[in-house]
């Protein structure tokens, strides 16, 4: 057996250990350790991606001496490797980019606790990506929820506590519903492992059609995960949670935590339920319409706010709407578009969330548009980074956002329904326009000279900001220019899913 097949196990176990280790380390050491460790993880994930795409097949890995279904099992294919790489890379960039603000946002004695939480969050994300067992998915979903909540309250102001309480209540509701869904599925299939579950479900559906308990299980599970990832109408926790937490935490929460849940949902849909069975259920159409509504409502709310953080948070709600609309098509193409958009949006949003604090710092700590005037000129690095992020969100060609909108369009054309095609195209057009309106408004504002404000020009370049932003920009451009490479990888990975 190739040694590289052990990498998923190593990645998960080492992340769990790093969580415990950062608990003991002093402040600075825990940051340095976490950055080095995330670099190591990125290298391992890249090696795994090269390995799986060369062999062109997925492999399962028995966790212990007992084979599944008695023991636990993880699985790695091309899709899993792509997402492990993407997630770990974004974690690295968000942690590095936001470190400067962490010291001001929290007490020095608690910085290491933040990194311990980040490492546990990494372990949970990797386990969600690699798991082949639906109950393992639930256990690590819990760690992800708790750790995300912890990273919100790391910034010790009253508003984060309030936001974290709201986040916690909604997320626990989501976890509870997900657990009920898992229990019902276990009752129907008698298995927790994904392939046998899929086999039994296909058998049942071919014998007696979609039975009520199956529909209920899928519905509950879907509601649970969509509450957790912030699909319309469950997105109202987003602005406060993202807006007030420390920049690293906001970047991680918006671009990774919610995407981890969505990845699990896609995995369950493709590997447990099966797309053919799924198409016979109403859940697809519900997800599609909620996704489209989410796009509209999120964009309009982003337009209405006059706070830059809230605007980006509501725009996240709209982007989650895109992803769910792609899933709601219930076709191969829809899933590919959704998976690609997970990556594209995660790269862009994490960059925006680590850029905004720089802009507001250049404007003397302001977050309202009026006071941000000229901040992009005073801090040119942040201004350029924000412009790149904004272009990608709007969907201007050569950036990642354009490629994912193109993929959504293709998926809609192939959906075979004229009504769906019209609705999706309309949503894409309208939301691109609204995106353009609110992002360009911000760009005009930050690049308009403010005259004499008494604020200093930003004196020097910070490597801790420039390096992650440059890396994220490079990947963003890569996703935009060579989207074919990534889509081909995702397509090959999806083909191995059932």
């Amino acid at each position: 057996m190739d040694f590289i097949r052990n990498f998923p196990l190593f990645m998960i176990i080492l992340s769990l250990f790093s969580g415990a280790l950062c608990f003991m380390l002093p402040r600075k050491a825990s940051f340095v350790y976490t950055v080095c460790f995330e670099c190591l993880l990125t290298a391992m994930a890249a090696a795994l991606l090269v390995f799986t795409s060369q062999t062109g097949s997925s492999f399962t890995y028995t966790m212990g001496e007992f084979p599944a279904p008695w023991g636990n099992e993880i699985r790695a294919g091309i899709t899993e490797s792509v997402f492990a790489l993407g997630f770990v890379f974004i974690l690295l960039c968000s942690v590095t980019g936001g470190y400067r603000y962490l010291n001001g946002d929290t007490d020095p004695t608690k910085v290491n606790l933040f990194f311990a939480l980040v490492n546990l969050l990494t372990a949970a994300l990797l386990s969600l990506v690699f798991t082949n067992d639906i109950f393992t998915g639930y256990v690590f979903l819990e760690i992800l929820t708790l750790a995300s909540c912890g990273t919100v309250v790391v910034r010790e102001i009253g508003k984060t506590t309030l936001a974290a309480i709201r986040y916690m209540i909604l997320n626990l509701l989501g976890s509870g519903l997900f657990l009920l869904g898992v229990v019902l599925l276990y009752d129907i299939t008698g298995n927790l492992l994904m392939e046998p579950m899929h086999g039994v479900i296909t058998e049942i559906v071919s014998e007696s059609g979609v039975i009520p308990s199956l529909s209920i299980a899928v519905a509950i599970l879907t509601i649970g995960l969509s509450i957790k990832s912030g699909l319309f109408p469950f997105h109202y926790w987003m602005p406060d949670t993202y807006g007030f937490s420390t920049p690293s935490a906001a970047a991680i929460l918006s671009s990774l935590t919610s995407k981890g849940y969505i990845f699990l949902l896609i995995k369950i849909y493709c590997r447990v339920i099966g797309l053919d069975t799924l198409r016979q259920m109403p859940v697809c159409d519900v997800l599609l319409s909620l996704g489209l509504l989410g796009i509209a409502v999120g964009s309009v709310q982003a337009m209405h706010t006059n706070n830059i953080n809230t605007m980006i948070a509501f725009s996240s709600a709209a982007q989650i709407g895109y992803i769910f609309a792609g899933i709601g098509l219930c076709t191969e193409d829809g899933m590919i578009a959704a998976l690609f958009h997970i990556l594209a949006h995660a790269m862009t949003k994490s960059m925006l969330f680590i850029t905004v604090p720089r802009l507001s710092e250049a404007a003397g700590g302001a977050k309202v548009f009026r006071d941000l005037q000229g901040s992009g000129i005073r801090d040119k690095d942040a201004g350029v980074a924000f412009a790149i992020g904004a272009f990608s969100m709007i969907g201007i060609p050569i950036f990642a956002g354009f490629a994912s909108k193109l993929l959504f369009g293709i998926a809609a054309i192939d959906s075979g329904s004229n009504f769906k095609l019209t609705m999706i195209m309309l949503a894409l057009a309208v939301s691109s326009m609204l995106n353009a309106i609110y992002f360009i408004r911000t760009l005009i504002r930050i690049f308009t000279p403010a005259g004499d404000t008494g604020l200093m020009e930003h004196p020097r370049h910070h490597a801790g900001f420039l390096i992650p932003v440059a890396l994220l920009t490079a990947v963003n451009l890569f996703l935009g220019l060579f989207s074919g490479v990534v889509t081909e990888l995702i397509t090959r990975g999806l083909a191995m899913f059932p």
């Binding site: 690590f140 009752d187 408004r441």
Partner: protein, 316 residues
Amino acid sequence: MIKDYFDHWLDGECDPTRDIYEIARVPDASRSELKDMARKSREEIASRDTTRSAISAQKKGFYAIYTIVAIVSCIALIGVLLYSVSLLPQYGRVNPRAAAVVERYIEDGVAETGAINIVSGIILDYRAFDTLGESHVLFTALLCVMVLLRMDSKNMRNKKEDYALMMHENFFDLSHDGIIRTVAKVLLPSLLVFGAYVLLNGQNSPGGGFSGGSILGATLIIAASSFGLSRIGNVFTRRASECATFISLSFYSFAKGYVFFTGANGLENHIPKGTPGAILSGGLILPLDIAVGIVVTCTMFGFYSLFRKGMIGNDN
């Protein structure tokens, strides 16, 4: 006019869809002047009866709709869940599809794991990866509570609050109460022995790390509340609890990582299973139970200590 409109749009104060202007802030106005302006404008709005009644009617309407929607959706959810309960198999009837998994656990479980208590065998051997995650859930919860409650420069109490807390501590300090101290002295040794028994005998009888650890944690809490938190804090210091948690968790991760690695690669793992029923049996189950027990004890007592005085141990 158009220029004004454009500027307001840039500020996010009005937009084509709503056409609402907010009161513009005067840059040179002082804080008190601003407050004055805000009060005046509130009064002005309040003086217009029509606006006021319109707003309150809107509010009332919203809450009425909100309540109705909430009740309806809760009832719908309850109905769906009750219906799905009626679809579950009857108590004691095994799902034939799950038979193979259950059969192996029951028939070969003792021989394969070396543990008479099948539950321990399942959670710490067959499905050890899930339990590894589960013990880290506890650790994550401990971290969150520490982030929230541990005292530091950002959430330090002021003197007044400190005094109030001291009075409160004295009021609830039971260490001067002879009855409670005597009862605690009688109870504590047997509680400790019971906790240790449940913890160490997890492979042979119901119990194990989670239950044994919570008994031990509760014992520590009883000791702390009857003899004073600071006296327990002298023994159970912050560093000690951190080290204990760290060592237990990393032992757990690496021991299980080793077993996963050898198992998946088809290597011999050299961990003796022991005779089922003996105290040293079940392979790794006993050491893992001890590790989980330590984590649970530290977590429980840590919660208590953090909630009561915002630190673990006496030093901060």
